[in-house]
């Protein structure tokens, strides 16, 4: 073999997509794909908004300010009815339920049905585009996850890899929506996976950074709500007030969670009435928007108003009550949309009211402090709502770039988290991550089998396959081994890359050697029923094995299990078992 070819092969093996390097390669692709989907989603919602309102569509509230009250009601009602129609069509025509991405990653196998979910995404685009008081992050992340799941299945990924790819796409989508790569990765680690480990966090960060870079390259890279003037002096008084606000925001978030659950239970009953229900929600919120257009949209406009100090205490109190009502009614009636941004908005408004009340009570608070408490309320509220202190902290820091606020934010977030634990609050994502689909990742460690983590292998040959064909497989995809199976799919042995790659281009051998000549029958194998603990042990005893073939009791070849996959799954499942997840 000439030097250049040797180098190419070395590089191909070193950076094999089956190994750890492949995880990062796919993470980059997932991140870029998520960013593209985020941009497309944004474009589609803006198009709907322009169509329904006839305004320029720069933002929901600014568009609503340009149109008469009746048209605001029309936009929301028409959007609700159309979205309800799409959801009804999906419920009637598609048998597969639209598995949420959280469920697919948290307890599932990474599989997300395509058609049902894309129809839900279409419904979400219509709802959000019409100005509904609901966030776009949820459906956007779901859409990105659908495409990632589809791509992963096409690439024949194992369950752990497919889950990770879907998780990477979710992190990328979050980073694209909030311009917050760190928070995007933390969101998935903390809320969706529930375990914080470098093995997980690193690829998620790669995906969210790739997504953010893509957004920066083609769009506006600035933070969503850049706030330079937010500061709370670091002293005992601030610490005490931050703790107080953290506790109060947590209690309010608990009420908010109960309100959402109650609304869903009471209002979202008969599927046939979905178009009517969402139209009614549209009329109700439209009527409010006729007087308070700020309640339309996800609440980003309110957050901007808060940090620009555009609201009085009276205004903001009314906005808080109406916003809670608007989000709850859309959510309760069964609209597809996120409640992350609305939650941040409610928390921000609550922090703002807290600061204004302190000022009324005689506390010497300037603009910097009032904005500071608004941010603190936002982070503390979301901490309880999402059961995610780290994500809340990082999200608020990243999308405001208010780094000086870190100390009071930490206090507020910690106290909020502690109060939510005491109150045993269930996160707003708890139901989404605990659906019907189960996988190895929802079992106790002792019940997980290596068969749960397998992937099919395309690298199988018959004993009489010529060396030329075997070499071709290795040159195309230098995996650890090619497996030799009989016509009835009985496992006979494996051909190791290390044995044959140096001869891969030998013309002399190509027609004169068959798979049987170079096959090893002493490669350690696993049964699909082998427990994951024994599987890990087998890999530990065979440090050179990058993968192991799985052979059923009757000798049939089942598939392969990859070293990285089994260790990754073992780490995650054992960590969950440890923490009782």
């Amino acid at each position: 073999m000439n030097g250049f070819f040797k180098f190419l092969l070395f590089a191909r093996i070193r950076f094999s997509l089956a190994g750890r390097g492949g995880v990062y390669f796919y993470a980059v692709l997932a991140g870029m794909l998520s960013a593209a989907i985020a941009l497309a989603f944004q474009f589609a919602t803006r198009l709907i908004l322009e169509t329904l309102t006839g305004a320029d569509g720069a933002g929901t509230v600014s568009s609503f300010l340009q149109i008469p009250p009746w048209r605001r009601i029309f936009s929301l009602a028409a959007g609700g009815a159309a979205a309800g129609g799409i959801l009804l069509f999906a419920a009637k025509r598609i048998r597969k339920s639209p598995t949420p991405y959280m469920e697919a990653v948290s307890i599932g196998n990474g599989y997300i049905p395509v058609r049902a979910n894309l129809l839900r995404s279409a419904a979400a685009i219509v709802t959000i585009g019409s100005g509904a008081s609901i966030g776009r992050e949820g459906p956007l992340v779901q859409t990105a996850a659908v495409f990632a799941s589809m791509a992963g299945r096409r690439l024949n990924m194992s369950t752990p890899r497919l889950r990770l790819l879907v998780a990477c796409s979710a992190a990328g989508a979050m980073a694209a929506v909030f311009h917050a790569p760190m928070a995007g990765a933390l969101f998935v680690c903390e809320i969706v996976i529930g375990i914080m480990s470098m093995d997980m966090l690193a690829p998620l960060l790669v995906a969210s950074c790739a997504s953010y870079l893509t957004i920066c390259a083609v769009g506006n890279p600035s933070p969503l709500y850049e706030i330079s003037g937010a500061y709370l002096e670091i002293n005992a008084q601030t610490a005490l007030l931050s703790a107080l606000l953290g506790a109060a925001a947590s209690l309010l978030a608990n009420l908010w969670l109960a309100c959402l659950a109650k609304c869903r239970r009471l209002l979202n009953r008969r599927a046939e009435l979905l178009p009517l229900r969402l139209a009614v929600a549209g009329v109700a919120v439209g009527a409010i928007a006729a007087y308070y257009p700020e309640v339309a949209g996800n609440g980003a406009h309110i957050i901007r108003g808060l940090v620009s100090m555009n609201f009085s205490l009276g205004d903001v109190s009314a906005v808080l009550a109406l916003k809670i009502f608007s989000v709850a009614i859309f959510f309760g009636m069964g609209a597809v949309g996120g409640v992350l941004t609305p939650s941040l908005t409610i928390g921000g408004v609550f922090g703002f009211i807290f600061a204004q009340l302190l000022a009324l009570a005689g506390a010497p608070l300037g603009t910097e402090e009032i904005i500071g408490f608004s941010l603190l309320g936002m982070a503390a509220f979301f901490t309880t709502a999402a059961a995610a202190p780290l994500t809340s902290l990082m999200l608020v820091l990243e999308f405001t770039m208010a780094g000086r606020m870190i100390f009071p934010l930490i206090i507020g977030v910690l106290v909020s988290h502690a109060v939510s634990r005491l109150a045993r609050a269930k996160s707003m994502y708890a139901a989404e991550a605990a659906g019907g689909v189960k996988s190895a990742f929802n079992k106790p460690l002792k019940d997980v089998k290596v068969g749960d983590l397998f992937r099919k292998s395309d690298n199988t040959v018959a004993p009489t396959t010529l060396f030329r064909s075997v070499a071709k497989i290795f040159l195309k995809n230098p995996d650890f081994a090619v497996y030799v199976v009989s016509r009835s799919n009985r496992y006979l042995g494996g051909i190791l890359r290390g044995d044959v790659l140096a001869f891969a281009r030998s013309g002399a051998l190509s027609e004169n050697v068959i798979a049987d000549d170079i096959m090893r029958s002493d490669i350690p194998t696993l049964s699909p029923d082998t427990g994951i603990i024994d599987g890990v042990k087998a890999f530990s005893e065979n440090p050179a094995a990058e993968e192991m073939p799985m052979v059923e009791a009757d000798g049939k070849f089942y598939g392969i299990v990859n070293r990285g996959d089994i260790f990754m799954a073992f780490a995650e499942i054992s960590a969950r078992s440890k923490f009782g997840g």
Binding site: P463, A502, S506, A508, V513, S521, D522
Partner: protein, 141 residues
């Protein structure tokens, strides 16, 4: 460097008799149990697919456990042996025994044997066992 032995082959009615003779040539140099394993492996391999290559060359072989070194027994037949059919008539039969774990060594030996055979050109039937042993020693070294 593998153990090399070159012998002249008589007229055999078939492939099995030829293999039996060549394996017998290894008897003084290989423990009986190992030889028995090798015999089984060689026959099994011939059952899977013929080891006739090209230009009158056949390379029957077996990979077995516990073989200390590689063994090469080269046989030259002026009349040729059907391997196993008349259209695959082997003048040069080279029996190779390799340890089960040494796949790369097997491929290397086979590659060198094929190249050496090509270097001879035409029919190899006229070559003497001594010349063959020397040639193989040079080729496999």
């Amino acid at each position: 460097m593998p153990f090399i032995k070159a012998i002249r082959l008589g007229d055999f009615p078939g492939q099995a008799e030829c293999l039996e003779y060549m394996l017998g040539a290894l008897a003084p140099d290989m423990p009986a149990e190992t030889l028995s394993d090798l015999k089984e492996a060689v026959y099994l391999r011939e059952d899977t697919a013929s080891t006739y290559l090209e230009d009158g060359l056949a390379v029957p072989h077996g990979r077995i456990s516990g073989l200390g070194a590689e063994y090469v027994v080269a046989g030259i037949s002026s009349g040729g042996v059907d391997w196993p059919t008349e259209d695959c008539r082997a003048n040069l039969v080279i029996l190779v025994a390799v340890d089960r774990s040494r796949v790369a060594a097997y491929l290397s030996i086979l590659q060198k044997i094929i190249k050496w055979r090509k270097s001879l050109g035409g029919s190899a039937a006229g070559i003497s066992p001594e010349e063959m042993a020397r040639g193989l020693e040079l080729a496999l070294n």
